[in-house]
Structures are given as structure tokens and as C-alpha cells.
């Protein structure tokens, strides 16, 4: 087990940086391919998100006249960098444990909120009315799903007695995964409802709804700036799914086999929780999504915190 990986290497190369980006893009490509197959189409090649990035890098970035230019161009950069850092914070059981100097679960929670905040600011800085609508929807959705996430994380941390992801992984490796522990099932269900919303896919893609608000905050972006947002969303998939694995099923052998098992888990989470969900559902309205998150995931996460506190 590599405990003392140097921090720059972890952020830029593995498991953050290049590795996370490549894997995130592959996950997105897989998602599009499988979604196409489920709809009876051939679908794009697996490397399609990668082609998109190269294409966007070669296009021009246009800034609208009424946009606040520094903010408009700065936000995609902040978003992509925050996810790059977050990717280095997620442990890969048996292979990689994040350096405590880099941060713990709390830092990861804050970093996970950055993409939504960045999209809100980008939407309002672009000066487009669709961006403003995206801003308000993103904010409402974030208020709805952030609460359950914090409570889920609190429940897991309370059970383990530590906010360090390495401790959480180590605890489950000795005491058994939380996935098989009925006490943790409410928290698991709440997390399963949270991650599609955080990844912004169909039942919960209300802020970026293409057919309603023309991709909302992303409407005015083009070229490399848009590419940075695509990078951010690919990295976010790896971070959020990796967090789910670390919280509920971090059982894996040491060495390369552990890495393979980890990646396989992410692929399963992506296909079931994202692809299957988004091809089989329509989009919710923002009030429906808000009510849903304040009803079920919040109740479940409060329940799980209470059970853990009593148990």
C-alpha cells in the first residue's frame, strides 16, 4: 500500500489528474454508448468525450458583450481545478490512501460543492437570461441535495469515529462493508438518491435542461472554456462515485487487482445509477425534485444518523 505518495504526483498524475480525467472521460463515453444501445442505436465510439475535448480545444472562445469577462473565463478554471484536487482526496482501497496533509472528508465535502457554485456564478456572469434561470434552479437543487449528503457523511463518520477517509476504509476492511450492514441502509439509499442529482443527469438535470433552458449556465460557453466544464464534469463523476465506494463498499485486494476492482465498481455505479436511470426516466420539474429530496433522502439520512447515534 502506497501510504506516502507525494502530493503533487497524487494531484496531477495518479489517482487525481491525468488518470482520473482519462477514466472519467471513459466513464462518460461508456455511458453514452450504453445509453445509445438501450435506445436501439449504434452510439458513438467509447473515446467520444475525448474527441469532444480535443475539438473544443481547437475552437474559439467567445465572450458575450454583457458578460463579466474575468468571472466568465475564471469560473471554468476554478471548477476544473477543484475537481482535480478532489480526485486526489478519494482513496482507492488497497492501492492509494490520501495524504492527511491534503485533507479529509470535510475538505472533500466543500470541494464537491464547488462545481455547483461555479456553475451558478458562471450562469449569472454570462448575462444570459437562460443562465439566470439555470442559476436559480442550480441553487434550489443544491440546497435540496446538499443536506442529505452532509447527514449521510456525518452518519458514516459517527459510526467510524473519524472524518478521515483512510480510517473509514480501514474500519470497513476489518468490520465488514457498510453495504451489508442494515444499520447503514438508510444512509446508503440517501446516497443513491444524491449522486444522480450531483452528476446532473436526466431526472435531476433541471439546471442544465437542454430542451427547456438550452443548457442554462453553459449556454454562452464555447471552445476551451466549455472544454474545462466538460473536464470538470468527467472528474466529478470519478470523485462522487469514488466517494460512494469509499463510504459503503471499500473491500478490495491489495495492488493492481485492487485498482481493477475499484474501477469495476465505478463502472457498475455509473451504468446502474446513471445510464439506466437517465434512459428510463423523464425530467422532473424543479419543485418536484426539491420536494423529493426534502422528503425521502433527507428523512432517510436523518433516520440513519439517529440509528447510528443510538446503536
Amino acid at each position: 500500500m502506497l501510504d506516502t505518495t507525494t502530493i503533487p504526483l497524487a494531484v496531477l498524475l495518479f489517482p487525481g489528474g491525468l488518470f482520473a480525467l482519462a477514466f472519467g472521460l471513459a466513464l462518460k463515453g461508456l455511458d453514452r454508448r450504453v445509453a445509445a444501445r438501450l435506445q436501439g442505436r449504434v452510439g458513438p465510439p467509447l473515446a467520444q468525450p475525448f474527441f469532444d475535448l480535443v475539438k473544443l480545444a481547437r475552437k474559439r472562445t467567445m465572450v458575450p458583450d454583457i458578460a463579466a469577462e474575468p468571472v466568465f473565463l475564471g469560473t471554468p478554471l476554478i471548477g476544473a481545478v477543484s475537481m482535480l484536487l478532489a480526485a486526489a482526496l478519494v482513496p482507492i482501497p488497497g492501492v492509494y490512501a490520501p495524504n492527511p496533509l491534503l485533507g479529509d472528508l470535510l475538505v472533500l465535502l466543500y470541494l464537491l460543492a464547488v462545481p455547483a457554485v461555479v456553475l451558478m456564478i458562471a450562469g449569472s456572469a454570462s448575462g444570459s437570461p437562460f443562465g439566470a434561470i439555470g442559476f436559480s434552479r442550480e441553487m434550489a437543487l443544491m440546497l435540496a441535495y446538499e443536506g442529505p449528503l452532509v447527514l449521510v457523511v456525518a452518519a458514516v463518520a459517527l459510526r467510524v469515529g473519524s472524518f478521515s477517509l483512510s480510517d473509514i476504509v480501514a474500519y470497513q476492511q476489518t468490520h465488514g462493508a457498510f453495504l451489508f450492514d442494515p444499520v447503514m441502509w438508510p444512509a446508503l439509499l440517501a446516497f443513491l438518491a444524491f449522486y444522480p442529482a450531483n452528476l446532473g443527469i436526466v431526472p435531476f438535470d433541471i439546471p442544465e435542461a437542454e430542451t427547456e433552458v438550452l443548457e442554462g449556465p453553459l449556454l454562452e460557453y464555447s471552445g476551451p472554456a466549455l472544454g474545462l466544464f466538460k473536464m470538470m464534469s468527467a472528474l466529478k463523476a470519478v470523485v462522487v462515485l469514488g466517494l460512494g465506494v469509499a463510504l459503503f463498499l471499500p473491500l478490495a485486494p491489495d495492488g493492481p487487482a485492487g485498482l481493477a476492482v475499484h474501477l469495476a465498481k465505478l463502472v457498475v455505479l455509473m451504468l446502474v445509477g446513471v445510464t439506466l436511470l437517465r434512459v428510463s426516466m423523464g425530467r422532473m420539474r424543479i419543485d418536484q425534485a426539491f420536494a423529493f429530496f426534502l422528503k425521502w433522502p433527507l428523512a432517510l439520512s436523518v433516520l440513519s444518523l439517529a440509528i447510528v447515534a443510538l446503536a
Partner: protein
């Protein structure tokens, strides 16, 4: 060939596999739009296998499909939207209306042909054109786009 040229050539080969499509309805009767939207770009004919993706915003577009005879009412808006599309871009005129005005060509209310105002690269005639023809037009547009990106 220097290393830089090789890398540029490689990047171009990758970039050309991701053409995003945007439609402008310049006063079309909707016949061509139905062909574009529901026939040419859905499961049966699926241009996503060419890497194409429909985009809602002109800022994301690479290939522009224009339908309709460019009515007087919509002309300024069409030109404005077209100017919002970042370079390099390729324009495809879908249907006979943007090419010649079609059955509306005598009308006082249309400004056809579209290529008086916009640089049209590919013409796909038909009223409406068959889905296969639209896909062929998109494929030719990709070949032209390759020289520009």
C-alpha cells in the same frame, strides 16, 4: 514534417470526429425540421455514430443546418444567431427552400437564396430531403470542416 505539424495533424484527426450540430429554422414550413430532428438524428439513422451531437446553444455548434427560405420576418435574427456561432463552422442548407426559395420563391416575404447572406457550404435539395440525403450532407460537411479546424 516537424513534430509540431505531426501533433497538429493528429489533433485535427481527433477533433474532426466530434462535429456538433445546430439547427436554424429560417422560416421553414417544418417539413425539413421534422426530417432533421425526428428522422435523420434518431435511432433508425443515428448520426451519433459519426460523433455528432445535437446542441441547444449556437455557441457549441460546429455544423449548422439551415432550413427554410429566410423569411423577411426572421432574417435579422438568423444572421444574428449565425454570427454567434464560433469559428470554424460549416453551413448546410437543408431542403430546396434555402437553396432557391422553393415554392415560396415568388413571395414578397422571403429573402431566398440563403447564400446571398450566409456562406453555404453544402446544399441538400429535396422537399423535404430524405434522411439519407441529410446524413450524406452532414458527412460532406464534416469533410469540409476537416480542412478548417
Amino acid at each position: 514534417m516537424t513534430l509540431m505539424q505531426t501533433i497538429t495533424e493528429k489533433a485535427r484527426n481527433l477533433a474532426v470526429r466530434s462535429p456538433w450540430i445546430y439547427r436554424i429554422n429560417a422560416g421553414s414550413c417544418n417539413g425539413c425540421d421534422v426530417e432533421c430532428a425526428t428522422t435523420a438524428l434518431i435511432p433508425r439513422y443515428d448520426v451519433e455514430r459519426l460523433g455528432c451531437q445535437y446542441c441547444g446553444s449556437p455557441r457549441h455548434a460546429d455544423i449548422v443546418l439551415i432550413t427554410g427560405p429566410l423569411t423577411a420576418r426572421i432574417k435579422d435574427d438568423v444572421l444574428r444567431v449565425f454570427a454567434e456561432i464560433p469559428d470554424p463552422k460549416v453551413t448546410v442548407a437543408v431542403g430546396v427552400c434555402p437553396i432557391s426559395g422553393g415554392i415560396f420563391r415568388e413571395s414578397y416575404a422571403v429573402h431566398a437564396q440563403v447564400d446571398q447572406y450566409l456562406p453555404v457550404d453544402v446544399n441538400v435539395p429535396g422537399c423535404p430531403p430524405r434522411p439519407q440525403a441529410i446524413i450524406e450532407g452532414v458527412a460532406q460537411a464534416i469533410a469540409i470542416w476537416r480542412e478548417r479546424i
